[in-house]
């Protein structure tokens, strides 16, 4: 199946790589991903898009990788497609016209990573709220979160790690020094 998809798009789709029995194809030009997906669905019977995820290759160029997990109910074959997108561009065509399920998956990828999908019917944030300024799954977003300037209705504060009773921060006082009842041993 993977080879047949590669033959349909010579030069665009790479030779399949295999790991743990799963075939992965790389699509060289992300702008043509919708075309490849439409062919995979119509000619090769991959009628289901199981999953769409996005990877942040922080520090490398191109920065984003969008991963499509295809499955055909008729033949029971899994196939993975990958496309790289540079940080400056951060945009590739939507596949929600091929599989309707991609609608919410792409909204999630936009919400979490900030990758835009051209031609998407309704590209809004989905898990975070409308107006949230950051993309939390990016590698340069800290785990503890960032404060945002949206008063009252929507706000985030950093996770309350500092100041907890059993937390020693780097460079801070240790628990003996912070405990007022602690006595220095005679």
């Amino acid at each position: 199946m993977a080879v047949r998809l590669q033959e349909a798009f010579p030069g665009l789709v790479s030779a399949p790589t295999e790991f743990r029995g799963e075939a992965t194809l790389k699509v060289a030009d992300a702008d043509r991903i919708a075309e490849v997906c439409a062919h995979a669905k119509q000619a090769l019977g991959f009628d289901m898009l199981l999953d769409l995820s996005s990877v942040d290759n922080y520090g490398a160029d191109p920065r984003w990788t969008v991963v499509y997990e295809l499955y055909g109910i008729g033949h029971g074959v899994h196939l993975r497609l990958k496309a790289d997108v540079s940080e400056e561009k951060s945009e590739l065509p939507t596949v929600s016209t091929v599989w309707r399920t991609a609608d919410w998956h792409e909204r999630e990828a936009y919400d979490m990573m900030g990758i835009r999908f051209a031609g998407h019917p309704d590209l809004r944030r989905i898990l975070m709220w409308e107006g949230y300024p950051y993309f939390p799954l990016r590698k340069d977003f800290p785990l503890a979160g960032k404060p945002t300037e949206l008063p009252d209705t929507a706000f985030t504060r950093t996770a309350p790690l500092e100041g907890g009773p059993f937390v020693t921060m780097a460079g801070g006082k240790d628990s003996m020094a912070r405990e007022p009842r602690a006595r220095t041993p005679e």
Binding site: F19, R20, E22, T24, D47, M48, L49, L50, D51, S53, V55, D56, V67, E69, I73, G76, H78, R80, W99, R100, T101, D103, W104, H105, E108, M112, R125, I126, L127, M128, W129, P136, L137, F141, L143
Partner: protein, 427 residues
């Protein structure tokens, strides 16, 4: 004397006549605006924190926009910052109605990445299947009870919860926790079955089939239940596949896709069970599919308990973990007396299992549908990216296509028949 005929027609006929020749602005004055109703995020039938913005013309829904994310905790971000083993408790909180099944799915995904999924001891595989199927019965009992309660049949809820309580007791004696089980480890399970547990499960199975039959007599031919669910929320086969539905919701539409049969994992290929499918794809079909799946789970469980290597007491000391110090924590008594095990323990706890670079997708048939994990590993003990394909997330994405055209009161039935969990949807 001349008679005069005066025609009195009803208001609907008069407004229809006026609307036929009205400009768009006048039309709005005649018909009135559409009503926008906010349902949720805390509404009894949204089973958590789903919010739907519903636009209605009279009682008929013309547009539905689901709003999710109220329970978003950033599980995928958290996973990138801890070792594979440390993430297991977070999987309890995905589909919190079937934590055992999530544990198993996640452990299998990491084991596939490490290439050790074929090396799992047979007893471990059987125990994991038992866990999955107990979780499936538990989740379906709740889904069914809540569905019936939402459309007005409260008794069923009380019935099913009686049985769920027994499953929780079984979970407690197996894992030490009723809810947050965290039972699996990479390469095995935390502990073997406790003494007498197999007999307790057998006793439970005999009781649950009676209970399922009783619930069925309360619902399947109940006139009110049939009226509320039949031909409501119909999803065609093509539409279900296009929207990526999985699990009972997909099978209710007549597609016989079940991961346990399509790409078998654990020992499912050695077990006999059937995949029930619906014919119409309405709420009633989805209900029937879940009902039958519980019976099939009972069937699977009986086979597992009979075939369990080592038997109930494990007299022959069959292993439940992979015998590899580099993946599975060594026995506690060995850690304190032997140097090599101490080193293994230290390395596993501080740095985690050493996964090779590569990427895998693993999907398991969970009660709600296909729970998938996509792991992008760059080597080492933490994933570079861990994507959770949550079945509830995908199943809910069909709502804008299904709800319009239905009555407001049908929303409750449709949501109940979808049987979603927001903990998993929002992650």
């Amino acid at each position: 004397m001349a008679t005069q005929t005066i025609e009195f027609r009803d208001t609907a006929a008069r407004s229809a006549e006026a609307a036929a020749s009205a400009s768009p602005e006048e039309l709005r004055d005649i018909q009135g605006d559409k009503l926008v109703l906010n349902m949720g995020p805390s509404h009894p039938s949204t089973h958590g924190v789903l919010r739907i913005i519903i636009e209605m013309d009279g009682e008929t829904i013309t547009r539905a926009v689901p709003d999710i994310g109220y329970l978003h905790r950033g599980d995928e971000k958290i996973a990138e910052n801890m070792t594979y083993t440390q993430f297991i408790p977070y999987t309890d909180r995905l589909d919190y109605l079937a934590p055992l099944a999530n544990n198993v799915a996640y452990a299998l995904a990491v084991e596939k990445l490490m290439g050790i999924d074929q090396k799992l001891p047979l007893r471990c595989q059987y125990i994991r299947v038992i866990c999955c199927e107990l979780a499936r019965i538990s989740a379906h009992l709740l889904g069914l009870g809540a569905f019936a309660m939402d459309v007005g049949a409260l008794t069923v809820f009380l019935h099913t919860f009686t049985e769920r309580e027994k499953i929780y007791n079984l979970c407690e004696s197996l894992t030490g926790a009723r809810f947050t089980t965290s039972y699996t480890r990479i390469g095995g399970v935390t502990r073997d079955l406790p003494p007498g547990w197999v007999d307790q499960v057998r006793k439970f199975l005999d009781e649950v089939v009676v209970n399922i039959a009783e619930s069925e007599t309360l619902l399947t031919r109940n006139r009110i239940w049939v009226d509320r669910t039949k031909d409501v929320g119909v999803i065609s086969r093509e539409m279900a596949i296009d929207h990526g539905l999985t699990g009972p919701n997909l099978r209710g539409s007549g597609v016989d896709y079940d991961v346990r049969k399509a790409s078998p994992y654990l020992v499912y290929k050695d077990l006999e069970f059937d995949i029930p499918v619906g014919s119409v794809g309405d709420c009633y079909d989805r209900y029937l599919v879940r009902m039958e799946e519980m019976r099939q789970s009972v069937r699977i469980l009986h086979q597992c308990l009979d075939k369990l290597p080592g038997g109930a007491d494990n007299r022959s000391k069959e292993p439940v973990n992979i015998a590899d110090g580099k993946t599975v924590l060594p026995a506690k008594d060995k850690v304190l007396t032997s140097m090599e095990e101490l080193i293994h323990q230290f390395m596993l706890v501080t740095q985690g299992v050493d996964a090779p670079p590569g990427e895998i997708y693993f999907g398991a048939e969970n009660p709600k549908g296909e729970l998938g994990f996509y792991i992008d590993s760059r080597g080492g003990g933490t994933p570079h990216r861990l994507k959770i394909r949550a079945p509830s997330f995908v199943n809910l994405s069909i709502l804008p296509a299904v709800l319009p055209g239905h009555l407001m009161s049908d929303v409750v039935a449709i949501l109940g028949s979808f049987d979603f969990v927001m903990g998993e949807c929002d992650r």
